[in-house]
Symmetry: C3
């Protein structure tokens, strides 16, 4: 048992893997924050998707009017889905990249730019900033993931 | 080759990692079940999203009327998306947590509560149960993931 | 430091893990491609979701008419969401499967069929092919993931 734990500790003690763990936790927590922002807008805008969510506003027609879409709620939901579409590839490709033995400084550059780009994307979406603010922040995160995928495929390719 | 396999086996033989693997497989299979439930409702409610899916009901107007949304289908789809939004963070943060060397009993507590909360969330969504049933089951899974993220960041932080 | 790197290299040098890394990178890149296809259709069909995206078409009513849904855009988006629903389970269950020590030939069979099925699914969705083309390609990828989950649970189960 002590031997096994030692091996696991070696993985988590590797600096590149620690950096991956840190930035992955950060972007996943940022993505999770979108759920709270959606809930906040649903409650303040009184715009719900499920009849059982409006039961506290009374019965029948008086509650039914809150079963509706709201522009602010939909905006947060689009941001949340965009997170899923971009952070899932980072989660998988970033892990493989971290295990492919990159230089620590190069790895940190990738992780930091990705996390910064996704945080900027969220602000650009929610404020909202005029384009190309959101588009650029999306593209930067996308390019970082492609760069890591290139490194993974060129170092481990086994078809 | 034998040496490499031995090293991999050490990872999968670690009890915390085995528990992570077990509960991750369970919640991912549960999430996959949502696809089958969606298909079941689409077929029984005759509510499809793609014209090619309704071709077996005839041509032209007779088939077109099945290109529609249905309350039951949409309910399952919302549950499926909520799974993605919550199980993806568990997948990533849970892996890092399992590698951070927690006590087995603490890790099992986290994994069991998370899996239980997500299963409860599905029942609450599909039956549906009155609120705050669904809200509470969502919040419990969310809190477990935050707790694991806190442990990951406090033990490996490398910015 | 050299010792740690050697350990990480052992993971990434394992043939089954290299195959997992290769096919995971491929299906994640394929999923990322859906973002570009969505952007292509949004621009060529002039169908956007956010007011700030239509600002370059002028102000007021002249730009507002481009805030609309388009059948081609929605089709790509459904394909993208289906990727998320199916590639996320592959990402997690495939990793655990690769660590469970399967035969290389068996693992390659799983990974190759999954990747082929998801690429076929995308073509079936976007062309679109008549059913059951899309349904079958979806079911093949789903069955491969179930097969890997069965192997994971039967080899590591720790409840």
């Amino acid at each position: 048992r002590r031997g096994e734990m030692a091996k696991l500790t070696q993985l988590i003690d590797n600096d590149v893997f620690r950096a991956y763990a840190t930035y992955t936790a950060i972007v996943l927590l940022k993505m999770m924050l979108m759920s709270l922002i959606t809930a906040y807008y649903r409650i303040t805008r009184k715009a719900f998707a499920n009849p059982e969510d409006t039961a506290s506003f009374g019965k029948g027609e008086s509650a039914k009017k809150y079963l509706r879409t709201d522009a602010d709620v939909e905006r947060v939901r689009r941001g949340h889905l965009n997170d899923l579409e971009n952070i899932v590839p980072f989660l998988g490709i970033g892990l493989l990249y971290a295990l492919s033995g990159p230089e620590l400084s190069t790895a940190l550059l990738h992780f930091r730019i990705f996390a910064g780009a996704r945080i900027a994307h969220t602000f650009a979406y929610l404020i909202p900033l005029p384009q190309p603010g959101r588009g650029l922040s999306w593209a930067v995160g996308y390019a970082v993931t492609i760069s890591m995928a290139y490194r993974v495929l060129s170092s481990v390719l086994y078809l």
